[in-house]
Symmetry: C2
Subunit: 345 residues, 2 copies
């Protein structure tokens, strides 16, 4: 009788409440899906906590919930995104990511085939990044109380000796670097939602940046600030840094990389690309003298090939982020108050 | 105009989509609610990742999503539970918890006052446990795509030198100890859901067990297995351990602590207390020679005052968990296949 329940859920091919009940159906889901695809010796310990060895040094922890809609989008899905997003948060502290954990909240009725596709994508992203998912958790909520799948990942990383990357180290005179064109992720999602078609499909830039960060830190350990401009886009990220460091910023609009197709899509969608989320870009603040060296190094990496110096940190107790526009004027890049793009990550 | 949006959401007193947008409304929510109540020097770093110092040694990580319904229940709420649940997973690896992270998934329209109550409860639980919440994340989903609030917490802990607590160390002849009566948490939740009234209200046992674990490990570092019988109850936990260690178990029904009111409620609700979730109990497997010492020590701690030796590990390749019943017979305590209590944690 007990086994029949499990077989029934396999027949329907969808998540049911038993998958979150702590019994056999949950154990089978964990074994046949999560362990099968994400498998590694630490995950295989099979306890509710994972035992790990960590090199000496300062550590960082970062956690990120992923509720993106749609779950599958051009250039990625919630599985790969949930790896990239958290690895990037760890990397932006100047750290080398070591381990990931993953908590799944599944909605009753969610197709097992879609879940498997997501877990495979997650496994692929983790393998490519060289960072294993070492423990996890699965919960199930009733149909209409969730939205397919939410994934919260937490990353642990180690900060190299001598590195102190922190937003409060922003100082007047520093150069502001950006690793590549803005807006790709948000526009990819919105295009999919609105069923827009372009000549060439716009792909999310979702990518793990810790390799690029390691190269940058290796060459210039004194980098002051790193931040990935996700929700709220470049504008929100720069305003946050300005406030943390009690500085202002002057950007050069012409220097900010932006793909023509993304610019066109933003116009069509009524979006300002400065506020559109990215998932594979970073902002770096460094001493002006280090800027050229870093730009050259970033451009040699595929994830930074369009890197550019986009502005300078200024002395400004009002913490304004300003931008020289193409028309020769100056505008304030305000901090977005309302919602621009919901559920973008 | 920008500020007006934020003021509007304050006026409605509820979560709106702007609280997840990465802009000013989200920053204000984080500052006025999360940082205000959970505040500590590491959280105050204000980066997307928290920089921490960790003593040398082996570490453990554990992650747990919390989707309990109702959010407020006799003896706790999702805030305190999300602290206790994850701290306990860390403690069951024999580790001393050091840090917590928290990812919130909020539903549009959720009352800010309820969220504040939850965050205050979380802060209280974290303070009481001596483990700070050092970084977090907030996402918002549309009304009808979530259920008030889900909280995924991740814990990091350090394992004392010489300790190796792991389910695969279960061995025939070991004693099986239980820290107190079973079923309180599940029955408290179900009573609330079904609007049952009892003479005295049954409270969840939700509690952080790492203090008790530290005392136990301090006295008997060679403890083999620790596990908290949450989802699936004592039955699921013992079956999992039996399988991990390739052993069987023989329990003594009369020795398993169970409150009379919980027993009565279980009968009324049609539940078997062996399968009902606990959130403040632990199972311990130890050498038979250490059992009395541990029981005495546990009983001296309020969280283990009803501790009992409930059975013995047996040699059994079929990994059966059996129980001597009150009638002099023996029954198999099977692994629950279907769902008993959905969204119990």
């Amino acid at each position: 009788m007990n086994m029949a329940d499990t077989r029934a859920s396999k027949r329907t091919g969808a998540i049911d409440m038993t998958h979150g009940g702590g019994g056999r159906a949950m154990a089978e889901l964990i074994r046949d899906l999560f362990h099968r695809h994400l498998g590694n010796p630490i995950l295989a310990q099979g306890n509710d906590a994972a035992l790990i060895e960590v090199p000496p040094g300062r550590l960082v922890m970062a956690t990120d919930g992923h509720v993106i809609s749609p779950l599958f989008f051009p250039g990625g899905d919630i599985g790969s995104l949930s790896v990239h997003g958290t690895l990037n948060d760890v990397a932006m502290a100047g750290a080398r990511p070591l381990y990931l954990t993953a908590g799944f909240i599944l909605e009753e009725g969610f197709p097992l085939a879609d879940l498997e596709r997501i877990v495979i994508s997650m496994a692929h992203a983790a393998r490519e990044a060289g960072v294993p998912v070492i423990t996890g958790d699965t919960k199930v909520v009733e149909k209409g109380k969730g939205d397919g799948v939410f994934i919260t990942t937490t990353g642990l990383g180690v900060v190299p000796e001598g590195v102190r990357v922190c937003a409060d180290r922003a100082k007047a005179g520093q150069a502001i670097l950006l690793s590549g064109p803005i807006g790709d992720h948000g526009v990819a999602i919105m295009s999919k939602r609105e069923n827009l078609e372009f000549e060439t499909e716009i792909l999310s830039d979702s990518a793990a940046l810790h390799g690029l960060v390691a190269e940058m830190i290796g060459a210039v350990p004194q980098i002051a600030v790193l931040r990935d401009p996700t929700r709220g886009g470049l504008a929100a990220t720069l305003n946050e840094i300005a406030r943390s460091g009690n500085v202002g910023m002057m950007l050069d609009e012409a220097a900010i990389p932006l793909r023509p197709d993304v610019a066109a899509a933003c116009e069509m969608l009524g979006l300002d690309p400065l506020y559109v989320a990215n998932e594979g870009k970073l902002v770096c603040l460094c001493e002006a003298a280090d800027a050229d060296k870093l730009i050259a190094l970033m451009r040699a990496n595929p994830l930074g090939k369009d890197a550019a110096r986009i502005g300078t940190v200024t002395d400004d107790n009002a913490n304004l982020v300003q931008m020289k526009t193409g028309f020769g004027g100056t505008r304030v890049v305000d901090w977005l108050a309302g919602e621009q793009l919901p559920r973008i990550c």
